[in-house]
Subunit: 620 residues, 2 copies
Amino acid sequence: MSPKITVELLRQLRQAMRNTKYIAEPIQAYIVPSGDAHQSENLAPCDCRREFICGFNGSAGTAIVTEKHAAMWTDGRYFLQASQQMDNNWTLMKMGLKETLSQEDWLISVLPENSKVGVDPWIIAADQWKNMSKALASAGHSLVAVQDNLIDAIWMDRPTRPSTQLLTLGLGFTGLTWQDKMTALRSKMAERKISWFVATALDEIAWLFNLRGSDIEYDPVFFAYAIVGMNTIRLFVDIKRLAVPTVREHLQLDTPSKAELSVQTAPYESVFTELQAVCASLGPKEKVWISDKASCALTQVIPKAHRSLIPYTPLCLAKAVKNATEIQGMKMAHIKDAVALCELFAWLEKEIPKGTVTEISAADKAEELRSQQKDFVGLSFPSISSVGPNGAIIHYKPLPETNRTLSLNEIYLLDSGAQYIDGTTDVTRTMHFGSPSAYEKETFTYVLKGHIAVSAAIFPNGTKGHLLDSFARQALWESGLDYLHGTGHGVGCFLNVHEGPCGISYKTFADEPLEAGMIVSDEPGYYEDGLFGIRIENVVLVVPAKPKYNYRNKGSLTFEPLTLVPIQAKMVNTDLLTQKERDWVNEYHRQCRETIGAELERQGRKEALDWLIRETQPIA
Amino acid sequence: MSPKITVELLRQLRQAMRNTKYIAEPIQAYIVPSGDAHQSENLAPCDCRREFICGFNGSAGTAIVTEKHAAMWTDGRYFLQASQQMDNNWTLMKMGLKETLSQEDWLISVLPENSKVGVDPWIIAADQWKNMSKALASAGHSLVAVQDNLIDAIWMDRPTRPSTQLLTLGLGFTGLTWQDKMTALRSKMAERKISWFVATALDEIAWLFNLRGSDIEYDPVFFAYAIVGMNTIRLFVDIKRLAVPTVREHLQLDTPSKAELSVQTAPYESVFTELQAVCASLGPKEKVWISDKASCALTQVIPKAHRSLIPYTPLCLAKAVKNATEIQGMKMAHIKDAVALCELFAWLEKEIPKGTVTEISAADKAEELRSQQKDFVGLSFPSISSVGPNGAIIHYKPLPETNRTLSLNEIYLLDSGAQYIDGTTDVTRTMHFGSPSAYEKETFTYVLKGHIAVSAAIFPNGTKGHLLDSFARQALWESGLDYLHGTGHGVGCFLNVHEGPCGISYKTFADEPLEAGMIVSDEPGYYEDGLFGIRIENVVLVVPAKPKYNYRNKGSLTFEPLTLVPIQAKMVNTDLLTQKERDWVNEYHRQCRETIGAELERQGRKEALDWLIRETQPIA
C-alpha cells in the first residue's frame, strides 16, 4: 500500500481557503469530516472527500488543513492503515491515546490569533458544530460555514451523486405498509406535541417508505430527505427516480388517496428551501423534531424556539424492533447465508491443501456462493477474509499486496455478510484447516465462552446492552486477555448492517434498552498482533425468556441465534468449558444441522450437507 | 410513623415568597433541594431544610412549593417512607417511574405564565441551576436566586451551624503530610495550567489538611472552604476552632514556614468575598478550578472565561486511591470491626431465643461492642437493623413504632459500620437463627454467587466499575430476579462511608476507572417485599492480579476483602455453588478465622472466638 501524494492537492486547497470566490474572507483552517449530508457510515464515492484529500479510506476519520499543517484524526482500528495511506504532509492523530490533542485543542495550539476555521455545514452534525464553535470561540477564533465545499472545488474528476433504481418492498417483506408506518410516526408526534418531523438518515427514510436503493455500496439506501407533518408528507429525491410505474404506484403518486397520506415529491436539493418555508409558517408553540446527528445546515434552518433535537428519532426506534414479518425474513436470509457458508467451508477444506486459495479468492468464492441464493442483492460489507497475522487487523480487507494464501498452518478468519431482499446477514467464523496449537485453542475457547455467555444470558426487560458487554469478556479477563472493540451492534432488516440505537459495548453512549424483536450481533474476539485473530459472531434476536421467577412482573429477555453456521469444534479445548457451555454448543449445532441440513438437502448440496453433519457432531 | 403537619408552615413559606423583605418581586414557586452548601450527602441539623418543610427525612429528595401546590421528588428507596412522613398537602413525585414528571416539566405544567421560580443559590449546584434555568426559560419562566433562604426565614428554632473540635491526624494515620498533599495538588494544577483551585466538598478539605471534625453525624468532617493558589493557601473556617494549640501547630499557623505553605485563615462566611477578590486579580489567561457540583453561588463568582469546571477534583481522585498507611489503617479498622460483629452474633445466638432482642437493641449492642474497640469514634451511618419484612426496605432504620423482635423464624439483616481513627467500615450480614426456608436459602445463594463474582473478578487496569455490575446480578437474572440498587460505592478512610469517584453500578455516571488502592463495597442483595431482605456486603480493596497472560502489558486487577466476618453457611444451598465458588467461601472463611481469630484471642473474647471457629468450618 503506497501513500497518496498530496502536495499538489494541499496547495490547491490552501489556495481555495484564500479564494474570495468561495469565502468572503480567507480562512486559516478547513475541516474535512468523513460523513455525508446524512451522517452515513458508508459513503458514496462523491462523498469520500476526506479520502480524496489525505488518502486514508477507513470508515472513521477527520482531516484538518491549516496554512502550514495537515492532520488527520482516527481511532485505534485504523492507526496502521492510515499511516500507510497518508504521505508525510500529514500528521496522524491517534485518538484514544492520552498524548493526542483533540481537534479543538490542536487547532488552538497551531492557529494564529483570531483565526477563522471553515467547514461545510452540510457534513458536520449540529452538535459537533456547537462543540467546535464553542471551543474555538473560547480561544478567540471562530468557526465559519463555507457553503461551497472546498474539496469539491479542487476535485476535478469528482463522481456524480448516484441515483440508482428504487426497489419497492411489499407487505410480505415489510409487515407494515408505509402508510401504517406514517400513522405510527404521527401518533408519536402527537404524543409529544410535535408538528413536523425531518428525516435525514437514509436508512430511516428507506424503512419509512418501504423503498430501497443502491446509492451507497453495501447499504440498500438512496439519497433523500423527508419532511412529515400531521397532514403533509414531502419526499425529497432525484425526481427522475420517480418515473418508474412501480414506484409511482407504491407511493400512490398518481392515484387519489387521503390527503394526509398523499406524498408530495420535490428535488433532493430543495429540502433546504422547503424546510425554510415550513418553518416560516410555524405557529408560536409548534415544534419540529430533527435528529441531533442531522447536519448543521439543516438543523439551523429550524429556529431554536421551534427546534426539538432528539438522540433517536421515532423511526430509528421503530425500525430497531423488528415485526413478525421482518423476523421471518431475517431467519430466511440467515438460512440461505448458512447454506452458502457451509458450501464455502466444505470447498475450502478440499481446496486449501492445493495451496491455491487466497484471502481474496476465498472471499470471492463466498460471494459467488451467496449470490446463488434466492433474492441475493449484494454484500452487506466488505468481507474480512484474513489469514494468520492479517486476522489480528480487526477491520482488515484483503488487497493484492497483502493477500495471503490459506494453509493448513494458519488460522483463517472470515467476517462476511450479505443483503437479501428478506434480510441482512453478518457472520464471523474462525477456522483452522490443519492442527491448531494449544494456545490457539485456549484463546478460541475463551472467546467461545464469552460468545455463549452473551447468547445464553437471561436479563430483565429494559436492560441496556452495555450491561452485557462484560459477560463476553469474563473468561478472557480471567486469563489476563481482552479485545479492544465492542461486542455487538444493531443489524437492519435488508438495511444497514450497522444500525442504532441498541448494541452491546463497554461504551455506554448510543444505547437504548434491549427489547424483544431487536436484532444485534454477538461477536467477541481475541487478537494476537502479528500472529492470528479470533472472532465468533452470530446475529441474535432478542426474545422473551421464562426463568423460574418473575421479579416485579418485569419479565426477562434472552437471545436466539439467527446465524446457524457450525462453530469449529476442532478449535475448542472442551476441558475449559462447563457442562452448561458444552450443552449450549451441542444444542446450537443440533439446530444448525436440523435447519440448515434441511435446506441443503432441499437445494441438493450434498457435499456441504456431509460437511455440516460432520461439523455438528456433539462434543463430549 | 405519623406525617408532619405542614399546613401552617406552607402558609408561612408562601407568605415569605411574596415578602419584599426577601425578594424584590414575588416568586410563584420555591425550590428546596436536599443539600447543604457543600453538596454533602448527610446534613447537619441546621441544613435539613427539605425535611423541615415537608417532614420527609430520607437522604435524597427535592421539595417544590408553588402558590397552590407542594410536591416532593424522591427515588424508589424512599417511596414508602416519604408517603408515611408527608401529610396530604404534599404530592409524592416518584422518580424513575415513566409517568412521573421531572421537576422542570411539573413546574411548567402548574405555573401561570411568566412565573418566577426561586432557589437559594448556595444549595443548588451550578449544573442543576443551569439545566433548571434553561428549561424554565424555554417555557417563558425564570429561575431567580433568592439570597436569604426562605426556609430559614420561617424556621423559628433552627439549630445553629455546628463547630465541633478539630482532630489533627499525624503521618501514622495519613501517610502523607498536608504539605505533601498541597504540593501534589499544585503539580496537578501546574500540569493543567490552573492558577487557583476552590475546594468545596467537606471530605476533600478534611483529607487535604489531615484534619477531622464531627459537624455532621457519621461523617468526620467540618464546615470549611479552601482556596489554593500556587503560592497561597486560604482556609475558611469558624475562627474559634483554630484557637486549639494542636491545630495551630498542625497547620503551622504560628511558626514561620515557606511562604507557599503558610495557611491564611479566614471566617467560613468570607469565602464569597475572598473568592471575588481572587477573581478580580486574575490575569487574562488564568483559570480557576472548581467542581461542577459546587454551589451555584460560589461558581458564579468566577467569571466564565476563567472558570474551569471539573467533574472530579484532583483531591477527589487522590483521596480515592489509598496509600500504604491508609490501607494498613483500613485493615486494622476492619479487624476491630469484625471482632465486634463476631461478639454480636455470638451474643445474638444466645439471646434471641429469650425473645428480648429487638432491631433497636441489636443495633445498640453492635454499637456498644464497636465502641469497646481502640480508636472508635462513632458509627459511619445509621445501622440498618431489620427483621423479616423490614429487611425488604432497603434503607430501613428501626424506629420504636416499626421495631421488630429478632426470632428464630425470620431473617435478620444488619448493615452497619463505624468510624475509627484508622479507618471506616461498612458491612452487611444476613442471618437466620432458626431454619431458613428453601426459598430463602436459594435467593441467599444467588446473592452470594453475585458477591463472589464481583469479589473474585479479574479485569484489566482501567476498567470502570459499572462494567462489573452485571457480574453481581448474573445468578439472580438467570432465575428472573434482580435488585434495584447499585452494587458498590467508594469508601473513605476515616472519612465518608460513601465517596466518589468510583463505584460499581448499572448507572454509568460518576464512575472513574478502578485502580489499585481504591476501596469500594461489594453488596448485591435480594428483596422480597413484605417478607425478607438479603444483602451480603464486604468492603474490598482493589489490588493488582497476576493472571496467566498480560494482554498489551495492561496489567490486571482484582479485589481483596477487607471485611472479615463469616458469611452464614446455614443460609447457603451449596448445590447451587460451583467448585470455584465453594473454594472462594472456604478460603474467605480461612482468612476470617486466621486474622480475626488471632485478634479475638489477643482480646480474650472466648465466646466470640468459639462462634468464629464454628462459623468458619469449610463447606462441602
